[in-house]
């Protein structure tokens, strides 16, 4: 069993995986909006982390560092997806073709509406919002994870909330989200 030691803890790779698999998987899934891809990216995240861990300093903040790897891995995947233009974009893959005149909440349910609104947001704002609301990160942890200044986090979260609200309300009205 391979163990790594940070200032706070001594971990085996298995313990790290068991502790973080679900939050990292969900974070990545909400960033890329596709479960199959989230499987691959979660695996990539942990592999990258396990390969690099022996090189890391003992002061390492494991959680923020893992999320940073996950964020970069997901961003890379999103960039590749944009490059491969002929692949169908998985956006709103549960969305029926015609939703006019029907209550969208009946079609999606609130959870799907939230996921759809997230998918429509700019990726950097989406990451900040997820880290804050889902993972309970502080402003300074978000800054560390996304490699931005703490003042930037304030702006990211403000734009994220505005963007999420706009897209959620548009979906609620059954409108087309830009």
């Amino acid at each position: 069993m391979i163990r790594v030691e940070t200032k706070e803890n001594s971990w085996s790779f298995e313990q790290i995986y068991d502790e973080y698999k679900t939050p990292i998987y969900n974070y990545v899934y909400h960033l890329v909006g596709d479960r199959e891809q989230a499987d691959d990216l979660t695996q990539d995240t942990f592999l990258k982390a396990f390969r690099a861990l022996p090189k890391m300093d003992a002061n390492l903040k494991l959680s923020a560092w893992l999320y940073r790897i996950a964020t970069n891995t997901a961003y890379d995947a999103l960039r590749r997806r944009k490059l491969i233009a002929w692949l169908p974009w998985q956006d709103l893959d549960h969305e029926p073709a015609d939703i006019e005149g029907t209550d969208p909440q009946e079609i999606y349910g609130t959870t799907e509406m939230v996921r759809a609104a997230l998918r429509h947001m700019p990726q950097q704002y989406r990451a900040a919002l997820l880290l804050y609301t889902q993972e309970g990160f502080s402003y300074s942890e978000i800054a560390h994870t996304l490699n931005i200044a703490e003042s930037g986090v304030k702006m990211y979260l403000s734009r994220a909330r505005q963007s999420f609200r706009e897209h959620y309300r548009a979906l609620e009205k059954g409108g087309v989200v830009k």
């Binding site: 695996q43 390969r51 402003y139």
Partner: protein, 159 residues
């Protein structure tokens, strides 16, 4: 403060990230402005929705795949013996930890590209893509070969 100014600060207001003066100005504005109050209450509601978003548990197969890939990586890089070293690592002095760090770092740097190729083809989707490409190349080659044979046969018949 205008509504536009307040809207930009509402998120930080909600997170308690404003200076006392700004916070007071916004509180005052909110008492008078329905529209900004609605936005703030939406932010609270959406924060709750996002926090309560159901968590999906990854498939158990993901765990075994991950540790299989890791084991392959350690074997190919020749670092699988470090399973023993690392047991030692967990209980030992800082210097042996550093030795192991250096050893790992060197081997990882040396063998990164071959591992990436192996990792690439270990995914079913990538393997499928590679096989499809190979199939298409062979098909194109066969079509070319058949056309050439047919053309030659036709020409021989003519003469």
């Amino acid at each position: 403060m205008s509504c536009e100014q307040v809207k930009d600060l509402l998120s930080a207001y909600l997170d308690n990230q404003l200076a006392a003066g700004e916070r007071q100005s916004i509180a005052l504005h909110l008492q008078l402005c329905n529209s900004c109050r609605d936005i703030l209450s939406d932010y609270r509601y959406f924060d709750d929705l996002l926090a309560q978003l159901p968590r999906i548990t990854p498939q158990p197969a993901l765990r075994s795949e991950l540790f299989l890939s890791l084991e392959e990586y350690l074997t190919v890089t020749g670092t699988s013996n470090n399973y023993n070293v690392t047991r030692h690592y967990a209980d030992s002095t800082t210097s042996s930890i550093r030795d192991w760090h250096n050893f790992q770092t060197r081997t990882i740097a040396d063998s990164h590209s071959s591992i990436d190729v192996l990792a690439f083809f270990s995914r079913p989707i990538h393997l499928l893509q590679a096989l499809t490409t190979l199939f298409l190349v062979l098909l194109a080659f066969n079509i070319g070969f058949l056309s050439a044979t047919l053309f030659r046969t036709k020409r021989n018949k003519q003469y």
